[in-house]
Symmetry: C2
Subunit: 211 residues, 2 copies
Amino acid sequence: MHLTREAKKKKTKKAILAAAVELFSINGFEKTSISQLAKTAGVGKGTVYSYFKTKQDLLLAFCEDELEYIHEQLNTRTNQDAPVFEQLVTVFMAEFEYVTRNPEFGRLYMQEIVFPKKLLAEKHKEGENKFFEMIFPILLKGQERGEIRQEFELLHLCGHFFAIYLLLLHAWYSDFIATSEAEAALRTLFTQAFVGLQPSTATTHHAEAQS
Amino acid sequence: MHLTREAKKKKTKKAILAAAVELFSINGFEKTSISQLAKTAGVGKGTVYSYFKTKQDLLLAFCEDELEYIHEQLNTRTNQDAPVFEQLVTVFMAEFEYVTRNPEFGRLYMQEIVFPKKLLAEKHKEGENKFFEMIFPILLKGQERGEIRQEFELLHLCGHFFAIYLLLLHAWYSDFIATSEAEAALRTLFTQAFVGLQPSTATTHHAEAQS
DNA sequence: GGTAAAAGTCGACCGTGGTCATTTTTAACA
DNA sequence: TGTTAAAAATGACCACGGTCGACTTTTACC
């Protein structure tokens, strides 16, 4: 048999991940030791490290699994005909709620995603692309519909919104805003971004955009 | 003598910080052990921990010292009469260059500042305020001069720019942009923010801002 | 100075994350 | 089935970050 081996590996990996979810949820990330986790998963300590390079990797793997699920759900649920503004609020709030539901996981995940070790940057680009893939089509449609200026590149637009999302999370983690205030804050920031910071009469002498 | 005691403590603290700077610079943060550091500083291991709660705290303390210096320099050097746009570019690029000069320190610093442990959030608000204090007066003057819309709250404006700054660093740490491209990217994002994402003819049906 | 309490220092000690030589399991072939 | 080489699992082991009670120095008061 050729499949049995691979199948077993998958099963072991799942067992380790399951143990991780269980123990991290109960005791938190830092208070869970790898040996304890290995025992729960029914494997040796070394085995854990042959599936995950690092304790953090284990957490990130779990987070990414969960996020993928959230993203799929979002893709099927968002109303493609609503205004861009509203679609973005929906998407961002879903992400926000997921990340902040378990602050400890979310924090470690975002720390690694936003400011990755340079060597691992490549790996995370992929993960972030998931996020960009979500809002990319929304913004594209927005440009087609004339809700968003067409002279800006889509990538830069995505970046702009990602920036606002980062700020939202930062504000929450720093206790500047409570969970209940998040949506209002997001809308305020979006409004600023849409309308623009300068008065509409101003001369845009600095508007030489870059690729 | 009453001062001797305090003076001695300061001296010890400086010695520890100095050892940290030296060893971190040579071997990096993770490869420097506390016992090694303690030996270099000429104190016991426990003493290090009576001055700094954690190994990370040690690094953050160092970073904050350095940042303070940068901020002072900036306050005296920026041209208060230049357009807001240009002043902001100057300030942000200075910060950017400092943070990315030593990627490892900058990374750990930003990780902790942007997504702090909830319990320590209070402590870091202070640190961030330094940043806001830098751009607050610039934006205020911008509003007075009519370069920036007056219907937005200054705090939200600061937030908007901080968001862009975070994105810039993120893009750099993720290898999306190189050091040499940073300023151009920053200008592009600023332009987007100033001009606004929606066409100037669009109806702003969503413009109910929040406090 | 003598002395007792408070402040500061110390390094042996603990549990941890991570490694690696060794052992066990699997797959392939005669 | 028996043999063997590769793949996978293992846990003793290591260096580290951080703790703690024992120890030394400083202070304040007589």
